[in-house]
Symmetry: C2
């Protein structure tokens, strides 16, 4: 499984992804799911991938080299598209190319060829944007009302995002929130696991502010995880008793 998250704020973008892949619980590996296409000062495009690993790797290759089969046709790449909207379309086109090429063969083996993506970033002089590309190749965009997008194992980590994420929040606060959301998911689903990739982008910079890889033994992650757990326990202990509490304590 996979958990990838993109948050769009007034000040920039925050991306987070785990790195566990599995073909059954007895075949677990580590693969990067957060991919950076950067020409510092000119463009910063981040692609996060979930789903069939063969599909996502092929799509990533085509986003870098051009869409096509054994001999790629001359096409745009994420280094040549002139807008983030065009970048999202390119991801959708590459995904359709790959799933059409392999879909029936993979289905014949009772496996699932599908994949989904988040793509966000900015090209110099254009708007900063964040998209979620569905397995059919169409896509939706984050807005002020819904300022975060998730792919993969999204449910465990969603409540904290819903409670906390607002477009006005700072980049570092959003990064911490992403770490907590990841931690909740990792605890609940063994197929989501460290190391994590975290990338923070400041609006109009067209370069990554920071790109961190957080490993198992990362003392900051451990501290955040413990402090969050203790804080939650304290929080619910402070919740008021209901009027019917006496019936239970009687």
């Amino acid at each position: 499984m996979t958990y990838c998250l993109g948050i769009m704020l007034n000040d920039g973008l925050v991306f987070a992804a785990d790195s566990r892949t599995n073909a059954g619980v007895d075949n677990i590996s580590t693969y990067r799911k957060l991919h950076v296409f950067e020409e510092p000062g000119e463009r910063l495009i981040v692609v996060l991938s979930a789903g069939n690993l063969a599909t996502t790797q092929s799509v990533l290759s085509q986003l870098e080299e051009g869409i096509g089969g054994i001999e790629p046709v001359a096409s745009q790449t994420l280094y040549t598209v002139s807008s983030m909207y065009g970048a999202a379309q390119l991801v959708g086109d590459a995904l359709r190319n790959v799933t059409e090429r392999h879909g029936t063969h993979v289905a014949a083996q009772d496996a699932d060829v599908s994949a989904t993506f988040l793509i966000g970033g900015q090209i110099s002089g254009r708007r900063m944007r964040l998209f979620q590309v569905y397995s059919a190749g169409n896509f939706i965009e984050a807005t002020e009302d819904t300022s975060f997008l998730q792919i993969g194992e999204a449910k465990y980590g969603k409540p904290i995002l819903q409670r906390v994420v607002r477009p006005v929040m700072g980049l570092l606060d959003a990064a911490k929130c992403a770490i907590v959301s990841m931690d909740s998911t990792i605890r609940a689903n063994i197929s989501v696991a460290l190391p994590l990739d975290i990338l923070v982008y400041r609006k109009d910079s067209c370069r990554a502010a920071t790109h961190q890889r957080i490993h198992d033994d990362d003392p900051y992650f451990t501290r955040v995880s413990n402090q969050w757990g203790e804080g939650l326990r304290k929080l619910y202990e402070e919740l008021p008793n209901p009027a019917w509490g006496d019936e239970v304590d009687r």
Copy 2:
């Protein structure tokens, strides 16, 4: 959809369930999913249901009147079984009876006949137990290591349970935790909704300590929801900054 939760503690049991059912988003109703079979002082058995409403209602009828079709055969009911293990078996048998009777007909309409259940409680002189009955009619039991069980839309509300629920916690604390878990789920999934049913059972009493229905306008629920949300925001603001925080704030 549905979200039902059962927590087994050293001191007793806590049950919680929402009450929304839907056949498509354009056909939403309210049905009780927490069902009580009680002879005060002799037995308290609680059954929580998720899945196809026709199936769960038929199963509940058979648990009360005996397993069978138009003319029920003389069989045990939840008022006659002599152990909680027997009660879990009875739920599984009733479920198999109903799904065998209707399964192929429902599948022919591209619908899903399946259902799952939680069943917990105590019969005088016997052990207090909590089970989860799968759609195939087999079942698992809560233990000290895994002291809560969920059916339906389980993921959104699981992280708080994983962080907080321990067998040694008090009944009222566990009830509060169940309310928070429900609140997180209701916020994330529109097909899970108030009113909630909450039942608290104190070990060896063989009667419900309290059985509450929490409606939309319940001031206690609103206060817990708000206090929890504010507490979460404060908690993440207090999280320490990472060493790489300077790269973001620069």
